[in-house]
């Protein structure tokens, strides 16, 4: 029996992967359906000398991990819809102050308290637009345990590479699902370490002066370089500034460092896309149902394909456009009122050929649900 093979929940996979990525600090507040992540962290982190904090709410949870990140530790929190709503202001702070951290949102049915124990994918737009003001964000997702592992590690890697908070959008259906996972051996997935400044003590260090490659080396709180961190617009020293030139430069930097690298950040899987007549686009738990249908119809000779998105933000516009251009029509499969559908229609050259197959009742969309929509579009009736 291979000891790396485990049969665990998606939430537990996320914990394994975070530890693999070098997580040392977790702060959170219990909320269904993400609670297993906090429970596992409480048990696992102290054993490796890491820290677990149960905070008084989700606001303070995100604040605490942001503080911990500044002392040089990889840090993460996990929550679900209502908690993610509470985190939005602190999320904007981490964006503005360029502090790497990972926020896991195990989505449930919303809005408000909604359906705590049921599946939903309604927070896609919130991940992108939830905090106030213009900004760019990275949000990843995954549909199966092996990919949850990889995307969790990628979330930490992107956070360090781009000095930004990264959101991992899981959902109740995969978070609570148990299936096989083979934990990769250390070193199998590359890890991005914190980029620290090489500026010597006594010489001025500029925490907000990007290198030529756009990356900003950091210095840990507690080390020699002392600098200011603020949520106000700030200069290269981290000092508040309302100089229009500096304000413009910073907002452009915050957006460009992510949007201009959308090709590097794009993660996706193509299933039978090459020769497909009809394309499904999906992500997270919905993609499992879509793939089930694709494999099923392929065995009967139907040319159905699936583009599974793993990076939702920045939205992989070019990849989606190209895939949609090569088929008769596209159906976006998701568990909300069409949040990714909207993006696909914006990306596609012929938005009138993009359709939606969704479910918004807390139940996982089934392959039959998708099949029925396909039949209606094809004029075959249900």
């Amino acid at each position: 029996m291979n000891k790396n093979i485990k049969f665990i929940q998606g939430n537990e996979v996320c914990v394994e992967a975070a530890l693999y990525a070098g997580l040392e600090f977790f702060a959170g507040y219990p909320i269904t359906p993400s609670t297993e992540i906090a429970e596992q962290m409480a048990s696992r982190l102290p054993r490796i000398g890491g820290k677990f904090l149960q905070m008084e709410d989700e606001i303070s949870s995100l604040c605490a991990i942001t503080g911990a990140s500044l002392t040089g530790h990889k840090a993460m929190t996990a929550t679900s819809g209502p908690g993610f709503s509470l985190m939005q202001e602190a999320l904007g702070y981490a964006v503005m102050a360029e502090i790497p951290c990972v926020i896991v949102n195990v989505m449930r049915g919303g809005p408000s308290t909604g359906l705590p124990t049921h599946a939903g994918q309604g927070d896609v737009n919130q991940a992108r637009y939830g905090t106030h003001g213009d900004h760019a964000i990275i949000a990843l997702t995954a549909s199966n345990h092996q990919d949850i592992f990889r995307m969790t590690v990628e979330a930490f890697n992107f956070a360090e590479t781009y000095r930004t908070p990264v959101i991992l959008l899981l959902d109740e259906a995969t978070g609570h699902l148990r299936e096989k996972i083979e934990i990769p051996e250390p070193g199998n997935i590359p890890l991005v370490k914190r980029l620290r400044t090489s500026v010597k003590s006594g010489i001025d260090y500029h925490p907000y002066l990007p290198r030529e490659d756009g990356r900003l080396p950091m210095s840990d709180f507690g080390d020699e370089h002392r600098y200011n961190v603020t949520g106000l617009y700030h200069d290269m020293w981290g000092f508040p500034s309302d100089n229009p030139k500096i304000v413009y430069g910073l907002i452009r930097h915050l957006v460009d460092k992510i949007e201009n690298n959308s090709h590097q950040i794009a993660r996706f899987r193509k299933h039978h896309v090459k020769d497909a007549d009809v394309l499904l686009i999906s992500y997270g738990a919905s993609a499992r149902s879509a793939l089930h249908l694709v494999e099923n119809r392929r065995s009967r000779g139907e040319k159905l394909g699936l583009l599974e998105l793993q990076t939702l933000w920045p939205f992989p516009v070019d990849i989606v456009r190209e895939a949609c251009n090569n088929v008769k029509f596209t159906v976006v499969v998701e568990m909300n009122m069409g949040q990714v559908l909207q993006q696909v229609r914006l990306a596609a050259d012929m938005p009138e050929k993009i359709f939606l197959a969704n479910r918004i009742d807390g139940e996982l969309i089934t392959p039959t649900d998708i099949r029925n929509i396909l039949r209606v579009i094809q004029g075959k009736g249900v």
Binding site: F7, H176, L177, E179, T366
Partner: protein, 182 residues
Amino acid sequence: MEKSRLLFSGSGGQGVITAAILMAEAAVRYESLNAVQTQSYGAEARGGATRSDVIIWDKPIYFPRVTQANVLICLTQTAFNKYQEMIRPGGVLITDSRLVKNSRKVDARRIELPLYEAVMDVIKNPVVLNICMLGAVIAVTELVRIESIKSLIAKRFAEDFLEANFTAVDLGVELVRQHLGK
């Protein structure tokens, strides 16, 4: 092999989810099969109707829920009333003969077993009812080996409870053997 879709149901606190997890995990870790396990539940930690879906196959499994069960297991009347229609025509229905009455004529092979009675007679502790049921399910489906499930139980449960649980597994297997007249 055929894809096996099992639906375990009962009330919160009976341990049906634990039994479902053990079944699926044994298939993955000891029989090199693929398995997925999900559950749906409300706010109740105890009571209510609990359901856990298990799919076992030798190929990749994508859609993880059971829409039509090959094997439906019901440990309460409420669960039976709620899930009886989910059985696939010609599937197997396993119920406890004391806890589920009036199992109306469903189009299935009905296996009514005195699980609860046997557990109270032999082990005198209703806590292991779920494991006795699991022994029965394994005996009926033959998806995992008895020694696999016992190895897994030995890993998962505290040592003090192992004997009762092993006895419960054997009891479940034996009840099926008697039922089938083997």
